[in-house]
């Protein structure tokens, strides 16, 4: 049982809490000879694979390091330009490390506010009257369960696809939210959740669920 992350979105669509639980690290390091068998795309903020995936280097993966030196946007830590380095035949062989791009906090906030209209449109485009918004969203790699409380706060859990009982878990998280966040006198509504007790209890809950299954809570 693997849970990848928990998100809490406020009534107005802002991300107020996020926890990355068990996100697998996808990294590949390969020693390459000239010319590269895949083509790279050089953007100001990152160097990514544009075409030709093989041996774990997939399209969309970003360049992390060259010969063990970390990449920082389009330049290396020591100031050398990555494009020049890679396109020059004399520098080979090169050891390149790629990884699946990690979401930054900004991107997470962006995604959370993107879910809000999707949720609303799903209920508007419904062929049956009185439909709720998205409750389960499934892709081939994960399943997202969403639970909206009566007050409009959305709880989301991203987990493996074959995972029954996520709605029970969501309700448990809601309980924790009610106990440790709403009863915290220093917490103001709609603001990001920074409550230590909530963090520790949620972490403990997720670990318990992962170890003993959903029936244990």
């Amino acid at each position: 049982m693997v849970i990848y992350g928990v998100y809490i979105v406020s009534k107005s669509g802002g991300l107020i809490f996020n926890l990355d639980h068990n996100v697998p690290k996808i990294e590949t390091e390969r020693t390459e000879s000239y010319p590269l068998s895949y083509s790279l795309e050089y953007e100001p903020k990152k160097v990514s694979v544009a075409f030709g995936q093989k041996d774990g280097v997939n399209v969309g993966h970003v360049l992390v390091s060259v010969n063990g030196i970390l990449a920082n946007g389009c330049t290396l830590e020591d100031g050398r330009d990555i494009k020049e380095l890679i396109e020059n035949k004399d520098n080979y062989p090169l050891t390149l490390k790629f990884s699946r791009p990690k979401m930054t906090t900004n991107e997470k906030i962006f995604l959370a506010s993107m879910f809000y209209p999707l949720f609303a449109i799903a209920s508007q485009l419904s062929p049956e009257p009185k439909s709720s918004g998205i409750e389960v969203l499934e892709a081939d790699t994960f399943r997202l369960n969403c639970f909206q409380t009566l007050t409009g706060v959305k709880f989301m859990v991203v987990a493996e696809t074959i995972q029954p009982g996520m709605d029970v878990l969501l309700r448990r998280i809601y309980e924790l939210y009610a106990d440790y966040v709403l009863k915290n006198p220093f917490y103001s509504l709609e603001m990001p959740i920074r409550c230590e007790l909530f963090d520790t209890n949620l972490q403990a809950l997720l670990e318990q669920v992962e170890k003993n299954g959903i029936a244990s809570i």
Binding site: M103, Q124, T141
Partner: protein
Amino acid sequence: MIYNLYIFDKYGTLMYYSEWNRLKQSGITKDEEAKLMYGMLFSLKSFVNKISPIDPKEGFLFYKTNKYALHYVEVSSGLKFVLNTDTTATGIKDFLLQLYSKIWVEYVVRNPLWTIGTPVTSDLFKTKLDEFVRASPLFGPKII
């Protein structure tokens, strides 16, 4: 129970729309509804690709609300099939791929009078599609 079906091409043009047991209209014109639907799918796809913890292959498959489920199949040419069913229906992906190979390819792609990128108006396609959907065990009232 099958509610309705949308077919979009890779540019987001509504190629075909049909409905069977639809109980609620969205209150906007079909044209606007199609744009809204395509916009939502486009966002859903990018949402799924970003939030996915590992590299996705097919990406978005379906979503469910408490009343209906929306299933999504995209073929490599960018043609998109969107089918709304009740929440208990299963095996929709196979059904849509069958629909693509048996109905779309046969009666649209092999129709010399159809120009790529324009909505399908062929009556033959319409009847065959209707037959195909009605013959499916997925059609008909919800089994509770």
